[in-house]
């Protein structure tokens, strides 16, 4: 049975259902229970934005608060994953990866290869990403390109509650390390979500809107900007297809190729900084693989090559807007 659920509650439900199903699933993070050792309410926080609230009451000590030591506890989650558990570790903001990145890219990501296929590391690292929260340069980044670059890591970045639930369940069940990126500005966004458990396979993009004139590729919050742009352009008779990548690694380029083969036009939208971004990655693959299908120069719409500014006026200019996306579409249509 489906009912409307927010992205945040969908994440909570996915964790709840997997913990119920599989006793080897545990979860850890800073204040994900909240109040450990403190005199007041146990389970006081459920994470900094309350995403895991209520899970401690159901699953008890399988949810663990941690000291503020990301390298140690994320490394512990990774180590435990090689020893029979299926841990979920929360890195509060992906922006903090700088203090624990080694455990992610030199350890978890490489075990299987370095050890000749003899290790499995079924760990899921959940982290908030993205801007719009007025949280400034160190709490608003879209660092997806950095983790997508790393072979051995899988990278997920859903755009809605339905995908969030299904992809998180898949992440937990997956036998490879997964970085699960939750856009903090989508937490309140609601769509229909089935109550029962379901997994969405990795590497299957979703066509968020069908169209024939141009292909807009996006992920996370940008899917909404792209769709908004498409709706506005439709009024001018420009019919855009919007592809929601859903997983950045593995990436479903086949769906992108198919779409561009029919539209001949590509616009890649990325909330990340432009250099070596997902937008440039998709653009490069398309031009290398199906160059002759392109009728016009592909367009990249990304954040500028700057840190995320604090001031709301600046941050609103920083994050790619539906208008910028529409302009880029118009540009490709002009030739």
């Amino acid at each position: 049975m489906a009912r409307t659920l927010s992205f945040k509650d969908a994440v909570n439900e996915a964790i709840d259902q997997e913990m119920t199903r599989d006793p080897t699933v545990i979860m850890m993070g800073e204040d994900i229970v909240g109040g450990t050792g403190s005199p007041g309410e146990a389970d006081a926080w459920g994470g900094v934005l309350g995403v895991t609230k209520g899970l401690y009451a159901k699953h008890g000590d399988r949810l663990m608060d941690t000291p503020l030591s990301e390298s140690a506890y994320i490394g512990a989650a990774i180590g435990a994953a090689t020893c029979g558990l299926r841990p979920i570790a929360e890195l509060m903001f992906l922006d903090f990866l700088g203090v624990c990145f080694d455990q992610m890219y030199n350890q978890a990501a490489k075990f299987r290869y370095m050890f000749g296929g003899k290790a499995e590391t079924p760990v899921t690292i959940r982290a908030m990403v993205g801007g719009g929260f007025r949280a400034a340069a160190q709490h608003s980044q879209m660092l997806t390109p950095i983790i997508t670059h790393v072979p051995g890591l899988k990278v997920v970045c859903p755009s809605n509650a339905y995908d969030a639930k299904g992809l998180l369940i898949q992440s937990i069940r997956d036998n490879d390390p997964v970085i699960f990126c939750e856009h903090k500005n989508l937490y309140a966004h609601e769509v229909d979500v089935p109550e029962e458990s379901y997994a969405i396979p990795f590497g299957e993009a979703n066509i968020a809107r069908e169209g024939t004139d141009a292909t807009i590729v996006a992920y996370g919050l940008m899917v909404h900007r792209a769709t908004e742009a498409a709706e506005n352009l439709a009024k001018d008779g420009i019919d855009c297809e919007v592809i929601d990548l859903r997983t950045l690694s593995p990436i479903d380029m086949d769906t992108v190729y198919e779409s561009v083969e029919s539209t001949g036009r590509l616009i890649c939208v990325d909330e990340a900084n432009p250099r070596c971004s997902i937008a440039s990655d998709v653009t490069a693959s398309v031009t290398q693989e199906i160059f002759s299908s392109l009728k016009a120069a592909p367009q990249l719409v990304t954040a500028p090559h700057t840190p995320v500014p604090f001031s709301p006026v600046l941050e609103d200019l920083y994050i790619p807007s539906a208008e910028q996306v529409a302009d880029a579409v118009r540009k490709t249509m002009a030739t």
Partner: protein, 327 residues
């Protein structure tokens, strides 16, 4: 008027009180205005902890550099950053300390020896080592000071810095502002040692613990460690035990605290009240003198808010400037 039993002159006592009061009112006002939805972003208030920042900063000059954390307003004000610019920054205005680009968690003014608030726990400790290293290599007697909370004292960056400072004998002091909580988690649970003196000793550093609600205790302990560092005696750790009057950040329901905890603390452990009691009881400052400062501070904060509200916003041009010196 009776003889001054304190280690500060009357003028300095007035300065210290004014600083503490400025921090307090700055934070109380932000709390109210945040509640009204006027302040964007994450805001971590320093109210209740003023004696630590001011007791320490009274010993420092502009050449001394401090590296602060997410709860940085108090450090900034005590280090001399302009209060009106700070307020404008928090409102995201172009007249702010960082032209509106930094916000509450990133206020800095290197000309005042304030290397920056910091959104990354523990990240300031290596930077403070750098300030101490610069002083050492440039041959002036400035020092570096690192401010972290009890929670951040479990970060690798902080711990590595203790060892580095010791090995290089840097003029750096590591202040651990222990307010009992890291977000909602208790220090008693998360820090696996009973005393920070022992943690410091694990890196060969002297450590001192003081009641951080007692301005004079902080002032004296900090003074000794700072003097030692300036004279080449090397790094040390200072734990200030203190109290956070508000939640972790604005919007925190604080259900992890004990019933009545905040009210009790406000009543019995308010460092400003304690300071006032000491100096008036000793007859060195009068309530009238302090009340006059209160009035001036309130006026300053009012003016800061008004100016911040009416200050111009940054424009599209500001978005892509200030990334590189040259590119």
């Amino acid at each position: 008027m009776s003889k001054n039993p304190f280690p500060l002159s009357k003028d300095d006592l007035l300065i210290a009180y004014r600083m503490m009061k400025t921090i307090r009112e700055f934070e109380e006002r932000l709390h109210v205005d945040f509640g009204r939805g006027e302040i964007p972003g994450f805001v971590h208030l320093y109210a209740g902890e003023e004696a630590s920042a001011v007791g320490i900063m009274m010993h420092l000059n502009d050449q001394d550099q401090i590296a602060s954390n997410h709860r940085g307003h108090g450090h900034c004000i005590a280090k001399g950053v302009d209060v009106k610019e700070m307020m404008a920054e928090i409102y995201g205005k172009v007249s702010g300390s960082c032209r509106g680009k930094g916000g509450s968690m990133h206020i800095a003014d290197l000309s005042k020896g304030m290397m920056g608030a910091n959104g990354i726990l523990g990240a300031g400790s290596p930077l403070a080592c750098g300030a101490g290293l610069a002083a050492q290599k440039l041959g002036h007697n400035g020092i570096g000071m690192s401010f972290t909370g009890d929670g951040a004292s479990n970060q690798g960056t902080f711990l590595e810095s203790l060892n580095l400072a010791a090995v290089w004998n840097l003029p750096v002091i590591f202040v651990v502002e222990n307010n009992g909580y890291a977000e909602s988690t208790s220090v008693d649970w998360a820090v696996a040692v009973d005393s920070y003196v022992d943690r410091a000793a694990g890196f060969g550093l002297p450590g001192v613990t003081v009641d951080g609600t007692e301005f004079f205790a902080v002032y004296e302990a900090a003074g000794e460690l700072i003097k030692r560092a300036r004279e080449g005696g090397g790094p040390s750790l200072l734990e200030c035990k203190m109290i956070r009057f508000f939640g972790h950040f604005e919007g925190d329901a604080q259900t992890y605290k004990a019933e009545g905890e905040n009210e009790y603390n406000r009543k019995h452990h308010d460092c400003l009240k304690i300071f006032r009691a000491h100096v008036t009881k000793a007859g060195v400052l009068s309530d009238e003198e302090l009340d006059a400062i209160d009035t001036q501070v309130l006026a300053l904060i009012d003016a800061a808010v008004e100016e911040a509200i009416s200050a111009p916003l940054p424009t599209a041009d500001d978005l892509t400037t200030d990334v590189y010196v040259s590119y």
